[in-house]
């Protein structure tokens, strides 16, 4: 699988690998006795679109708050672009655009006034270009028509869009987006996907926490899966899906004969539905299975291997349970 940022994280031979956009070592944050984040080692390569997944309450937002210097970690260290944090905050954070647990703005100011307010609040908020940057950011999130409207009159999705506009107000090297499409309409969600792909194409690293696994599957090059404050898996999305067991799907009228053959070959977890039979591959080559079926006289109409979806992998890692873990 070739993601939008293609060769991210695998620099051409000879060039030294750039310092990762985000790197944490044993990072922990406890709330009282609860280890909301429990010794995580994140490695987010420059140029990647990094999906940060995990069930509700697994510690994603807490991790993001620590990374951005809002919370003091209980233990561990972290660096952004190779610079130790939080010491380098004033130099690094201007290059980081963030959306943390939903947008937040001044209700009594308009969308454009809000953006100007935040732009003026920190370094690199170049005043002569402010007007133009605000207009461009609002246009990118489709909010031009509502620019002069008071924030308190914005709908949920419009607020979310304004939050994104704020994150895009200056050229960024890293975007940290905590559930950016929360509350957005389908067009909005699709636009955000395109926006992320476009930004990644320009070399911006995107750290994306999301529950929309199909979106993550489409835009991300890398993923980490978190549960109960720990990281269960972290790799390129292709590698993660390769670790999940592939399945063999066969279509034939002689399903019972096929089932015996596949069981003899050592495939497990057989499911039969009408003329379709599927089983879990444990290292057996699909072509060997095909030959065995044909040798046994099974009329094979079709035979394919199925990669697990990200959702399958996610559920396999974090469990089927619906209730929050704590």
């Amino acid at each position: 699988m070739d993601g939008p940022a293609g060769a991210a994280g695998t620099p051409a031979p000879g060039t030294p690998a750039p310092a990762p956009a985000i790197e944490t070592t044993g990072l922990s944050k406890h709330f009282g006795k609860v280890p909301a984040v429990d010794g995580i080692d994140l490695h987010v390569p420059v140029g990647s679109v990094f999906g940060f997944l995990g069930p509700n309450g697994s510690g994603k937002t807490t991790t993001i708050r620590v990374l951005l210097g809002l919370l003091n970690p209980t233990a561990g260290t972290w660096m952004l672009f190779g610079r130790p944090m939080p010491q380098a905050s004033m130099q690094i954070l201007p290059k980081v655009g963030a959306l943390i647990e939903g947008p937040a703005f001044y209700p009594w100011l308009s969308g454009a006034q809000n953006l100007a307010r935040f732009d003026a609040a920190g370094p690199d908020g170049d005043r002569p270009t402010r007007r133009a940057r605000i207009d461009l950011a609002l246009a990118r999130v489709g909010l031009t028509a509502a620019a002069g409207k008071k924030y308190k009159a914005y709908s949920l999705g419009m607020r979310q869009r304004l939050g994104l506009a704020s994150a895009l107000l200056r050229p960024r090297e890293l975007l940290v987006l905590d559930e950016p499409t929360n509350g957005m309409d389908p067009q909005g969600t699709r636009e955000i996907r395109h926006l992320i792909q476009e930004l990644a194409g320009d070399g911006t690293t995107v750290f994306l926490s999301s529950h929309l696994l199909s979106e993550v599957e489409q835009v991300c090059t890398h993923v980490a899966v978190m549960s109960l404050g720990k990281i269960l898996a972290q790799s390129t999305i292709a590698e993660l899906q390769a670790t999940g067991a592939r399945r063999l799907a066969v279509e034939t009228v002689q399903v019972s004969v096929a089932a015996t053959v596949l069981e003899r070959l050592g495939l497990t977890d057989l499911t039969i539905e009408g003329d379709a039979i599927s089983a879990r591959l444990d290292g057996q080559a699909p072509e060997d299975c095909c030959r065995a079926l044909v040798d046994a006289g099974v009329g094979v109409r079709s035979l394919t291997t199925v990669r697990p979806t990200l959702e399958d992998t996610f559920v396999a890692l974090t469990g089927e349970g619906f209730d929050v873990a704590r």
């Binding site: 809002l70 201007p94 001044y106 003026a120 609040a121 704020s166």
Partner: protein, 266 residues
Amino acid sequence: MWRAELISQFRRRRVKALLLVLAAVPALLAVLVYLSGGPSNGQGPTFLDEVTRNGVFAALAGLTVTVPFFLPLTVAVVAGDSIAGEASLGTLRYLLVRPAGRSRLLLIKAVTIGAYCLAAALAVAAGGLIAGVILFPVGRVTTLSATTLSLGAGIGRTLLAALVVGASLFGMAAIGLFISTLTDVPVGAMAATVGLAVLSAVLGGVSQVQAIHPWLFTRGWFAFGDLLRDPVQWTAISHDLALQVAYMAVFGAAAWARFTTKDVLA
């Protein structure tokens, strides 16, 4: 960001409303005196008797009337809201990630509150002056020492009195700012600040605790009257201003220690 913060704060309907109401209090007072007609019998607050003879005194009467409760109340609203309000809106996390810098943000907030204190006291003086000039004759200002000042000097003293009143609220403002760093609930911070001001005023009236009276931040709130003496009596005013500076130092340092290390969860 200094400009942006001031503009953003003073553009708020709440702040505009507070200033407007503060300006309306002495104006209302002047109108009431005008309607009741004639000089009163000397029972009213200081300066109020003088209003019918000289409209300038409406401003000073306004300060006398608002300084025990109304002015400090509005300061508590603005100071208590400063950090806790940003936290409750969620804008605090975006300001910090911007990064506004925690020390810098706190300093900007402190200066904004200070500006509000002065603006509030000046609003009272301005409301009184305008109403006084419209409703009553104006002329040379008779001081508490029975000498007279030119009208210009009288108005100058009045505006200076307003600035002194504004500055005498700085200590309370610093307490409000500190409390505001402790919570994400602005109303709680406002109420706690008002509570402390009431406590300080009550203690000021209890003779058993006379030892702490010189240290109460409400103690010097009426010292501005000494500006209307000839020559000006600076002792009480300078003692009060020094006390306000001490409160600012102590609670400013506490606010800084708290705010620069605090976990921002809102």
